[in-house]
Symmetry: C2
Subunit: 142 residues, 2 copies
């Protein structure tokens, strides 16, 4: 099993298809951006994947951005394939993102998680994440 940062140059149709399938396990209702549109030069992102042979079994992304309040990373789309849960893959993916965040000298890493996702929350807290006394608000635009 390997954890690596996916680069545009190593993207293949098979990997793109597996990312699509894996994302469907998280949410099959929203329309996905294809990975080719995500790994573009003006989108600063760290896209970590877990592979076992040719099989993609997990992924986690961190978009980075700079605002006055700091250079931040927003973790999104953390998914481990249903058949491979309970093996610490989510933790390994998150550790890879944190390692990259330190390399890039981010000030802060953010993420949000549904209040009902207890295993995920336990993982995030074990990595040092703390719940903020803030609400997350969203507006669908498109």
């Amino acid at each position: 099993m390997t954890i690596e940062i996916l680069q545009k140059s190593s993207l293949t149709p098979s990997i793109a298809q597996q990312i699509r399938s894996l994302f469907n396990q998280l949410n099959s209702e929203i329309s996905q951006l294809i990975i080719d549109k995500v790994l573009v030069p003006d989108n600063t992102i760290v896209f970590a994947v877990c592979r076992e042979g040719d099989e993609l079994i997990g992924m986690a992304a961190m978009a980075t951005y700079k605002v006055i309040s700091g250079h931040k990373g927003m973790v999104e789309d953390v998914i481990v394939s249903a058949n491979h849960r309970g093996k610490g893959i989510g933790k390994k993916l998150m550790l890879k993102l944190l390692e990259e965040g330190k390399k890039q000298q981010l000030n802060e890493i953010l993420l949000f998680s549904g209040h009902h996702r207890l295993p995920a929350i336990t993982l995030y807290k074990s990595l040092g994440f703390q719940l903020k006394n803030s609400g997350l608000y969203t507006l669908k635009v498109g």
Copy 2:
């Protein structure tokens, strides 16, 4: 009073200083990124400001990024100068960000707000934002 998108080319030392002062009204404890480091080519951001003559009286930023779950905007650093609150400036700044978000065909705009910031939350809800059943978790890195 004008609402405009601040471009790198129109940045002056006076505007940079006023952004610094304005941000201190929100939070004087965290170390700020200077605006020159925020308005850089590889940081996709919309930075709206409200000016009255030469005076900067409000600002609101939206960093945009692409992940598999969509092309998103994250609103940050919404601040109106204490002397100018209650005039609808926050709403005008937010409407400018939403207009830009539509132009860029974002799928979703996100923001988080402290549970105690009732006037801000009222504003966000009036614009159509909905509270998600999610917690925001953060990790200080630097």
